[in-house]
Symmetry: C2
Subunit: 342 residues, 2 copies
DNA sequence: CTGAAAGCGCTTACAG
DNA sequence: CTGAAAGCGCTTACAG
């Protein structure tokens, strides 16, 4: 590969001049600029981004670590939509994404630290949101620019920038809808109980029942870890409650909602005549499931795009002005919900 | 950030010694190694990957450019599964992925060249497979290590490494199944006609009909560009063929198969009683569609993982031993296919 | 507008 | 086993 010096020699200028030409520096005469470009073209020269990064201490790269991958992580629309949002926004701003995997939650912190400590990225978008993993605290220690997708695990992180969906509100709306339809025995099928989003939805679930004066029952809560079988198992368990069996289910993703529907059908329950189901994420499967699943649409791509934009601003300002964005979700009504038949 | 020199000073050794310790060099006495690690820990030192890359001319990073994104790119399982395979394989081998977007097919080549010319990656996995875009030729010019997902666009690229599914065989099997079920009027709904995979499937479609002595009809071929509406439109068009209307459809992805089913239902055709449908990719939606779609399962994650492994081998050997891998697909029979009712 | 030089933070042949 | 030095390919204050 040709270097800046090869070009300099050929164009009869100093290498610093070549550098200036390629960094878009204005104080270059038109004639030398042309000579340099001509020489570069002839040699097939393109500036080495690594060398530039070492010099400027900037990579124009954003790091992400794909968190510990649960069953169905790549089946749900959660990950692909986040990816799309980040890709689009970073592309638009001339950034690339550097993405690493990890084996488990501890490893996630390691990987993030590595990527930052080794200066491979100018900042990082963090998607983890498990309460027991203090990624955020670690990141803060190293004054790494970062933005959370999801909000910080506790109040003590006031200065952190994040984007999130309004999960509380969305869950509340879903629950209220079910209540309006006459349901009072409503199940909550959450994901990983350590997942912050899942916890929030559970909290909103309990709160909404309470506000409506509907007694809650611990038997109506199941943690399905975001996979299809989790939803299926929830029903298998709750169907044994006899009289006390739920007549409606709210699930924290559509995969679990699909599992719920599969189990209900297997037990000869009709949806929505006997039981109503609401899922979350508006995944492709929700539209195709039979019956089509009513679901909470979460604007993941938009959230992720916003996170990237906030991060880039942080990086370019050198400042960490804290800011947060909350996105509204939207209830998408389809065929899995109906008035409770008395 | 602490540098190797800070650590050296603190540990009372030369910086080259610190470097050796962190590069896992064996010829280091146990006592100095310990001193160095202690000093590093105290200073929170982690080697700067950018500087190392500049020195070693290796980044341990693999580049990918997300090709021009068609509608549904992130809905189908194609992209997420490729991503999963690449992520897992690169993680296992201590590599990361650097991923960029692009605006269109020309831009794709630009982006790939940029990533390589600027030395941000040691090699690249190329997913584009449009006949009219000569990514491959460009890449070869720059003797960049790369592996194709999909095979080269023409015979003249003998020395290129690639992985691919056996699309011909898979399509043939799907078609033969339909023929065995008594169908003779079989439609082919392809993706982008410039997409190589789509072309291959179309070729296999025609060939299989011919071998079975079944006359083909140009009206039975439609290019749906891999999206749901494309499938829907195929039916809307073909349903006007009257007598000559197809009794079976093979679609190059499940999204289009779902569109086909939607259109058939709208036109009061029963599936599979009146019309059979086979999709491709075994996407999540295929299982949930009503009826559940019989589909060709393509091992994208495995293919992508293999591509990454081949690429890493190329990178580490410094050699470009050409090799190719073809993966078998699997017909997943569900409820959208049945014997033709006379 | 352009050149000469120092520096970004590592690695690695060369000595010893 | 360890040190001293050159080099990877850029950028950027400092002069002029």
């Amino acid at each position: 590969m040709a270097t800046i010096r090869d070009v300099a020699k050929k164009a009869n200028v100093h290498s610093s001049t070549v550098s200036r030409v390629f960094s878009g520096n204005l104080s270059i005469s038109e004639t030398t600029r042309e000579r340099v470009f001509a020489a570069a073209k002839e040699l097939g020269f393109w500036p080495n981004a690594i060398a530039r990064s070492l010099s400027t201490q900037r990579t124009n790269t954003i790091g992400i670590i794909i968190p510990y991958i649960f069953e169905g992580f790549f089946n749900d629309s959660f990950f692909p939509q986040l990816m799309r949002g980040m890709l689009e926004a970073s592309y638009t701003h001339g950034f690339r994404l550097i993405v690493g995997g990890c084996e488990n939650y501890d490893d996630e912190i390691d990987q993030i630290q590595q990527i930052m400590a080794s200066s491979q990225a100018d900042g990082i978008v963090v998607m983890s949101s498990r309460m027991d993993v203090n990624t955020v605290g670690e990141l803060q220690k190293h004054n790494t620019p970062f933005v959370l997708i999801g909000h910080p695990p506790s109040e003590k992180y006031q200065e952190i920038s994040w984007v999130d969906a309004d999960n509380q509100k969305a869950t509340k709306e879903a629950l209220q809808l079910l209540i309006e339809l006459g349901h009072t025995k409503i199940a909550f099928v959450g994901g990983d109980p350590k997942n912050l989003t899942s916890q929030e939805r559970e909290k909103a679930y309990l709160l909404t029942l309470e506000e409506a004066g509907i007694p809650a029952d611990a038997n109506w809560i199941h943690h399905g870890f975001f996979d299809e079988t989790g939803g299926y198992n929830a029903v298998e368990r709750m169907i044994q409650l006899g009289e006390n069996m739920p007549t409606a289910y709210y699930a924290a993703n559509d995969l679990m909602a699909a599992g719920i529907i599969r189990a209900l059908k297997k037990n000869n329950m009709r949806i929505p005549e006997d039981v109503s189901v609401i899922g979350t994420n508006n995944s492709p499967i929700a539209a195709y499931c039979q019956p089509a699943i009513s679901t909470v649409s979460v604007p993941y791509a938009k959230m992720a795009g916003k996170a990237v934009e906030m991060l880039i601003e942080q990086i370019e300002q050198g400042e960490m002005e804290q800011s947060t964005f909350t996105f509204d979700c939207k209830l998408v009504m389809r065929d899995s919900t109906a008035k409770l038949h008395p």
